[in-house]
Symmetry: C2
Subunit: 335 residues, 2 copies
């Protein structure tokens, strides 16, 4: 893809993760279904935050996590997302650009904190088994305007990567529809990550329509999301999706992942991890690793191995951004 400025450009939520360990009892008492992501309003956010213990703040956001990992694995990437002009927004921009992701979307004004939304936050509750439950206040993120879409940059990117979470708020959804059109007109690939059960429950019809219109080239799903989308068991869902999407990548939690391209099938087992600390970002980093191979025309098998290595790294510590030298880990694994 030598005519490209970026290998991958992504549109996603700009969210700082606020992470604390919790017990399973806490999740039950707070009526929080373990392993899910839900949107919460300001009042609930204050309430829940007040009940959480000491936290760590680490930049997150599904597509941005994918870009951070993909960049660390050698891709040239750019991010489109909305932070506010506040301290968390400054931190967010720093963390993304510090690994080499291009991020030019201007911050949204935040001169009056009573009336303007701050940078988005996600309260991430991590259970003893590493499973995370996410409670997101989108803040400024949900106001990403269509005008923020850098059409020239999209035309100059091999892959447009879209985060399903951001299909929920209205303005970003419109922006993403426009971005898809721009990418298709320029002959670029469009990758889509469904992100969470609730996204598929709420917007599965839209997602299916995008697929039916031939607008999605690469679909990242987990097996629950695939099942919901197709109204069937995951294996059948993979097969039916593979009929309509050129490349489907389905993660299966502890069972690894499978990719389907036409009649071709490839699978990978999870990488062994000494201790699973925090599952946040596992799917995002799987996509990062996969794309790092895909954009360099690697085999499906290698793409999957790269995904498994990146996912294995990120679940071995707190937070959804890789800490270790991913390139070295991948090189070692591929031998």
């Amino acid at each position: 893809m030598s005519d490209t400025q970026f290998d991958v450009i992504a549109i996603g939520n700009a969210i700082v993760d606020v992470i604390a360990p919790v017990t399973d009892d806490f999740l039950e008492a707070e009526d929080l279904p373990k392993g899910t992501m839900r949107l919460i309003d300001a009042e609930r956010s204050v309430d829940l935050y007040g009940k959480m213990g000491q936290t760590k703040e680490i930049s997150g956001g599904a597509a941005a996590n994918t870009l951070a990992g993909a960049t660390m694995l050698g891709l040239k990437t750019a991010f489109i997302g909305q932070v506010a002009d506040d301290q968390l927004g400054e931190i967010y921009r720093h963390d993304l650009t510090s690994v080499g992701v291009s991020f030019d979307t201007p911050a949204r004004p935040y001169s009056d904190k009573e009336s303007e939304p701050p940078t988005g936050r996600c309260l991430v509750l991590v259970a003893p088994d590493g499973e995370r439950t996410m409670n997101t206040s989108l803040g400024a993120s949900q106001f990403l305007p269509a005008s923020a879409i850098d059409e020239d940059a999209i035309r100059a990117s091999g892959v447009l990567f879209l985060e399903g979470y951001l299909w929920d708020p209205e303005e970003p959804r419109a922006a993403m529809r426009r971005a898809i059109q721009v990418a298709r007109d320029a002959g670029r690939k469009v990758a889509f990550a469904t992100c969470a059960d609730f996204c598929v429950h709420m917007h599965g019809k839209d997602f299916r329509a995008l697929i039916d219109d031939g607008l999605i080239d690469i679909l990242f799903v987990n097996e629950e999301e695939a099942g919901i989308l197709e109204g069937s068991d995951p294996d059948a869902a993979l097969e039916s999706l593979a009929k309509d999407v050129p490349l489907v990548v389905m993660t299966r939690g502890g069972d690894g992942a499978v990719a389907a391209r036409g009649d071709e099938r490839a699978t990978v087992k999870p990488e062994p991890v000494e201790q699973v600390k925090d599952l946040t970002g596992a799917g995002d980093l799987f996509a990062a690793g996969f794309l790092s191979g895909y954009c360099r025309d690697a085999s499906l098998e290698e793409c999957l191995v790269r995904g498994a290595v990146a996912a294995g790294e990120v679940i071995s510590h707190w937070g959804a951004r890789p800490e270790a030298d991913l390139r070295a880990l991948v090189a070692k694994r591929l031998g």
Copy 2:
């Protein structure tokens, strides 16, 4: 100490740590002496932050770290320190109060970010061997006014714990002098942590004057600071300090720690740690563990063991606030 509301009340910097791994070459290129703490201005802070990779934000501040650990070990504690009315200030207050530390100092207004200082930040650069180099922008922290000193709370606290770092800015120094007077008049103990070489270089005369005036009951130093303070080798410094301070606790890095109370001497070896990840907070948590024994009339030996266990926990992960159940670790170690 049944007539007390708090076992320990501390006055210290309210600082959020901004943590990133670096190489030794980076420290050299940036002319940053490894293992030190220095104050930096806004311009240098922006420059250095821009050169750091992805960060984690974790609440810190020396005395506050000590209180967090001491509270997790069963003490009742309170903190006096200055945050701004901003996002990091909100996070800071949450993290401290979430473990049970009482923290009532009102936030400093932050309605105009051009003219008012934000909550303090410390850029913590962690080398591969875990040694941290700290670059602090004090921000609002240096404007802690004497009026913030809750004299009733100090009178109602068994120990007043003072952070040497905060002796540097003028307003907090005046506030701490006043606090010492209040504590002494109420017959309370005063503990002082020298915190860093540069504090002793700059304010050693003041520290010595406090000692000579009999105002310090417990002195927390490391061996370098003791040597600078007394102008001698650490062993001789310990002996000369022990003549003037009722209880001296001197940490010795990889050699553990020693305590001197009159003619009594006790030592402890460091706790074995699987992997030293980040030495930030080691001294602070040693003080936390020590005080958790001291305030319950434990032997010097037990106080030191508690200190070593708490320090060992905090250096095994990123950040200066304990993550594990310190009480359980101490109980296991004491058998």
